[in-house]
């Protein structure tokens, strides 16, 4: 992980940002498109969302893109304040593991929600 060039990380940061903008806009518009915000959060509607394959893929993509972008941004903020080999290594691994944990946690939700029987 430490061997990735900073310029490549920057490109990943930009591409995840552009991907996330489009997909999150789509996700939010689905919440507002039902006419009433409250009805879009009803248990049945949300479970139906998870059980639609295209929407589940959309959620998974958002999860990966935003986690990578967010924790990479946080890594950049931390690295701007202090330097040092040990500190940088700690921040890099900390952010990598945090992003990975969140992706695994979110993916578990998507998989388990797919198996709910109403």
């Amino acid at each position: 992980m430490l061997r990735i060039r900073e310029s490549h990380i920057r490109k990943i940061h930009y591409s995840t940002a552009l991907g996330a903008i489009g997909l999150v806009a789509l996700h939010i518009s689905v919440r507002f498109s039902t006419g009433h915000f409250a009805s879009s959060l009803s248990y049945e509607f949300v479970v139906a969302n998870y059980q639609t394959l295209s929407y589940a893929i959309l959620l998974e993509l958002i999860l990966i893109l935003v986690s990578v972008h967010g924790f990479n941004g946080l890594r950049g903020i931390f690295l701007d304040y202090r330097s040092g080999f040990k500190y940088e290594k700690m921040v890099n691994w900390g952010c990598f593991l945090a992003a990975l944990s969140l992706i695994v946690y979110g993916t578990m939700t998507i998989i388990l929600a797919n198996q709910i029987v109403i």
Partner: protein, 113 residues
């Protein structure tokens, strides 16, 4: 502002993902919805939409800037010193971004309340 909005959005996202796990139990989902439907929940969501809009539009501006677009040409630094990379157009872009974010906040508050 970019960093503050980024940190807010990241914290919101982490809480949102953890909150989403409650879908596995109907009762827990209902309890979580009480938090979402509270005035505090609506304010948190509205601020998220406004800051998300700001972060996205300003992020695209920064992408162009870091690619070398809109930062002007290098000139000899003469007194009174002016920051080349923060010219009138860039300032205008930031103000327009803030305006669009304010509109997004207004729209979100209108939907939620």
């Amino acid at each position: 502002m970019m960093r503050i909005s980024g940190i807010y959005l990241l914290v919101f996202f982490v809480v949102h993902v953890i909150h989403a796990m409650s879908i596995l139990d109907r009762m827990t989902w209902g309890q979580m919805l009480f938090l979402t439907y509270s005035p505090t929940g609506f304010v948190v969501l509205s601020v998220m939409i406004a800051l998300g809009t700001f972060h996205a539009i300003n992020g695209i501006r920064l992408m162009f800037q870091q690619g070398g677009l809109g930062i002007g040409t290098p000139t000899r630094p003469d007194y009174p010193y002016q920051i080349q990379s923060m010219g009138k157009k860039n300032r205008l872009c930031i103000y327009v971004t803030m305006g669009v974010s304010a509109l997004a906040l207004y729209y979100a508050l209108d939907v939620f309340f």
